[in-house]
């Protein structure tokens, strides 16, 4: 099985562990990921804030390159990139004038027929069917599944799950043995791209999310967006300052959770790259951690 893959800038930079864990589970389930050759940045928030034509042209170039290379289905794990690509394809498919304007800018043809899938759709389609036979260690954690904004909204353009109280990630987490808590912050905003320009805003918004997860007795927050992950994880000192609490709940990707459940190593999944450390629980019935965990523990760099 082979599908297209657009990592985007975060996954090749500050959120490398997301890329590593996507690659690791794809390999374990024998799915070949074909990167879009010479891909560019999707433009993110910056482009649609400052220049509409640019905000459509940058994602359109990625889609045009994917089409040119025979990709029919494209996995986009970053929720922000997924949103930009999906919204662009949707808008260009509904407005022929706009499409010809953009293809003129690109100087490339674009048919607009690629199936763009996010990481949860990828897991539902390619991982879940054969997960039971690969499941080696149940992920025995209570988790708060945090979807953020861009996977589910705007609902009439992304058409994925419910815009309020979505379920897909909770179902996936449960399939890997986790117990997901019912909580009201699944799709609240973490503050997104204001991370550098208004860190205080990030701390306030992300702080509410982290605190609520802890109050619901979750032991880990599970995410599918690199921006959410870094705001909830890397900004923890600022969050703790704003909340006046010492919140030490780790924030992991859904792909890392699945990787652990099929026995992949922590380092292979990039878990050592998080700021708030993640630790596996000792397996019940054993006095100390099992061999795999011991190996991983040795590999982990202490934060």
């Amino acid at each position: 099985m082979k599908i297209g893959y657009y990592p985007g800038c975060s996954l090749s930079g500050g959120s490398k562990e997301y890329h590593e864990s996507v690659i690791a589970i794809a390999k374990a389930f024998e799915i070949e990921l074909q990167q879009v050759p010479d891909w560019n940045c999707c433009g993110a928030t910056a482009a649609h804030n400052l220049n509409k034509t640019l905000s459509l042209s940058l994602p359109a170039r990625i889609l045009a390159l994917a089409e040119k290379n025979g990709i029919n289905e494209l996995l986009v794990p970053c929720a922000a990139c997924y949103n930009r690509l999906t919204v662009t394809q949707n808008e260009l498919n509904h407005d022929k004038t706009l499409r010809s304007e953009i293809t003129e800018v690109l100087e490339m043809p674009l048919s607009g027929k690629i199936e763009i899938i996010n990481v949860l759709q990828f897991i539902q389609k390619y991982i879940i069917p054969s997960l039971p036979e690969k499941l080696t260690s149940q992920f025995n954690f209570k988790v708060a599944c945090y979807y953020g904004c861009l996977l589910v909204r705007p609902q009439h353009k992304v058409s994925f799950d419910r815009p309020e109280d979505p379920q897909s990630m909770d179902i996936i987490a449960a399939a890997a043995g986790a117990v997901s808590v019912d909580w009201p912050f699944k799709t609240e905003c973490c503050g997104a791209g204001l991370s550098m320009s208004r860190t205080d805003t990030i701390a306030r918004l992300s702080g509410k999310i982290v605190r609520e997860a802890v109050e619901r007795q979750a032991e880990a927050i599970v995410v599918a967006c690199p921006m959410c992950q870094s705001n909830l994880d890397m900004r923890r000192p600022e969050i703790n300052k704003v909340t006046g609490m010492k919140l030490d709940i780790p924030v992991i990707y859904i792909t890392q959770l699945l990787g652990l459940s099929i026995g992949l190593g922590q380092k292979e999944l990039g878990l050592q790259r998080h700021f708030v450390p993640f630790r596996l629980k000792p397996v019940a019935g054993k006095g100390k951690a099992d061999t795999r965990e011991e190996v991983d523990a040795n590999n982990l760099t202490e934060a």
Binding site: C9, S10, S12, G13, G14, S15, K16, D38, W39, N40, C41, G43, A44, T45, A46, A47, H48, N49, L50, N51, K52, T53, L54, S57, L58, R61, E101, V105, L106, E107, C149, L150, V152, R153, P154, Q155, H156, P163, E164, T187, E188, C189, G191, A192, G193, L194, M196, S197, R198, T199, T201, L205, M234, P237, Q272, R273, H274, F275, T301, A303
Partner: protein, 185 residues
């Protein structure tokens, strides 16, 4: 209100979004994660568009709100009239810049966006160290995040060199044409 030069009419022309459908239920402002920090709440932005008065329109264009909006899309998702408010916000930001009416406090937010796009124009991808350095130069916030950077580095999260794509000429051309196109409006 029917004045074809009103912002509301321009928005309909350029985006198809009809602000006049808003009946002020206030769900957008209630759900907006940033409204608490805003000078004009999203529902007020809609109302100012409806009056079409030049002084009301100027209030929007000079507001801090349009720059605080992070496009989380909560307002659109809860709007009973399905008004694409995030699209209106995008439009307002561009119009505010065109008319040189940017709110003084928006400086850092805009600087960040510009640093981001500069990196993409030059290399084709986001170069995080370059972005941060450029942003600091633009805003003079040299000491910000000096404690976070080493942590990112030891975790292997910072690439020291930019990833340069082959299609850099294409990127330059896309940027040039996009800027020209937006300037024509």
């Amino acid at each position: 209100m029917d004045d074809h030069n009103s912002l509301s009419a321009l928005i309909v022309r350029d985006t198809g979004v009809q602000a006049n459908k808003c009946y002020q239920c206030g769900k957008c402002s209630a759900g907006c994660p940033l409204s608490i920090e805003m000078d004009i709440a999203p529902s007020q932005v809609m109302r100012y568009l409806q009056t079409g008065l030049p002084e009301d329109e100027e209030k929007i264009l000079r507001s801090f709100s349009i720059w605080l909006c992070v496009s989380c899309e909560m307002c659109l998702s809860r709007c009973p009239m399905e008004i694409d408010i995030p699209r209106v916000m995008d439009y307002m930001r561009q119009e505010s810049s065109r008319r040189k009416m940017n709110h003084p406090k928006s400086k850092r937010i805009i600087a960040f966006h510009k640093s981001f796009l500069d990196s993409v124009r030059t290399t084709g991808r986001l170069y995080e160290i370059g972005l941060v350095a450029d942003y600091k130069m633009r805003t003079g916030t040299l000491m910000q995040d000096v404690l976070t950077a080493p942590g990112m580095f030891t975790r292997g999260k910072l690439g020291l060199l930019p990833e340069m794509i082959k299609g850099r000429k294409e990127m330059k051309s896309i940027f040039k044409k996009s800027t020209k196109k937006e300037g024509e409006k």
